[in-house]
């Protein structure tokens, strides 16, 4: 089973990389960009076929390693099949 994990900075946490991207977009002439926040996208392939168990395992992976919950939020998305 394939999972996609999105790790994003929490609201209120300064994102200097997002700010730099925002500046670069402005420099390229893209007007009207209100703000940019960047994060990480992680794909995980699991042997587990049970969705509930897979989700529980991924949640633990996020808490233990993939995200630092002091500054980051994570969202787990499992493939339909």
């Amino acid at each position: 089973m394939k999972a996609r994990i999105k790790v994003t900075l929490k609201n209120g946490v300064l994102d200097p990389q997002g700010k730099a991207i925002e500046g670069a977009l402005g420099a390229l002439g893209f007007s009207g960009v209100e703000s940019v926040r960047q994060g990480k996208f992680i794909e995980v392939e699991l042997r587990e076929q049970n969705r509930e168990k897979a989700h529980a395992a991924l949640d633990e992976m996020c808490r233990k390693l993939l995200a630092n919950t002091v500054i980051e939020n994570y969202a787990i998305e499992l493939d339909e099949k």
Partner: protein
């Protein structure tokens, strides 16, 4: 004083740290590879600077889960003094042995220069030979030294005197909250700092301000 320095893949300041410890304590420290499961019986465990695992995922994230970290946590709980410098500080935060996290420098640039450090708490085992409010000089070399903690953690750190070192007025090189350069845990035995005291220990370095930090630990252990 017996000491150990943990070496991770991508550590690059371990030799400086081993050299400083031997010079100042007079005892050859033990280098411990990260896959080991047990630390030797020592008075001080040091996590050195570098770029463990190439800073993949987050700085210190993967090293923070290394085999040896289970024993570092056990030693921390038993009261052994643990010190993390630069990447070592990032690893201690990622391992949950210190609160907060070191984020990308606010200006997105790697900083490599000498900064002034103000002693915010001279009552710790790592700073007792400095005086409160004293400003000393020390090099920094990092891309991720921007200290961040939740408002609750920050209030606790400030309230309990756990902020040990601050960048001197106007010298914050990375955007750290409250100019924080070094913190200690509530028990006072786990200490982390971004600057490199091990690179300020003999006249050749320009000054010996960093030596005082090691001498403080030496005195505490004696």
């Amino acid at each position: 004083m017996k000491s150990a320095v943990i070496v991770f893949p991508g550590s690059n300041r371990e030799r400086d740290m081993l050299y400083a410890l031997e010079l100042i304590t007079g005892v050859k420290p033990v280098a411990v590879w990260h896959t080991e499961t047990t630390l030797p019986d020592v008075d001080l465990v040091v996590l050195p600077g570098g770029f463990s695992y190439g800073d993949y995922l987050r700085t210190g994230a993967i090293a923070g889960r290394a085999n040896i970290m289970t024993d570092v946590a056990r030693k921390a709980k038993a009261g052994t003094r643990i010190m993390g410098v630069c990447n070592g500080f990032q690893i201690l935060c990622e391992a949950g042995l210190l609160p907060g996290v070191l984020m990308r420098n606010a200006q997105l640039k790697f900083v490599c220069k000498e900064v002034g450090l103000e002693v915010a708490n001279a009552k710790t085992d790592f700073t007792s030979k400095y005086s409160e409010g004293q400003v000393w000089h020390c090099p920094v070399a990092h891309g991720d030294g921007n200290y961040f903690a939740s408002p609750e953690d920050l209030a606790r750190l400030e309230g309990e005197g756990q902020v040990v070192l601050r960048y001197a007025k106007g010298e914050n090189p990375n955007g750290s909250l409250n100019d924080i350069a070094g913190i200690i845990n509530d028990r006072g035995n786990v200490f982390g700092m971004m600057p490199h005291p091990e690179n300020m220990i003999e006249p050749l370095n320009g000054a010996t301000d960093g030596r005082v930090l090691f001498e403080s630990v030496l005195e505490a252990v004696a």
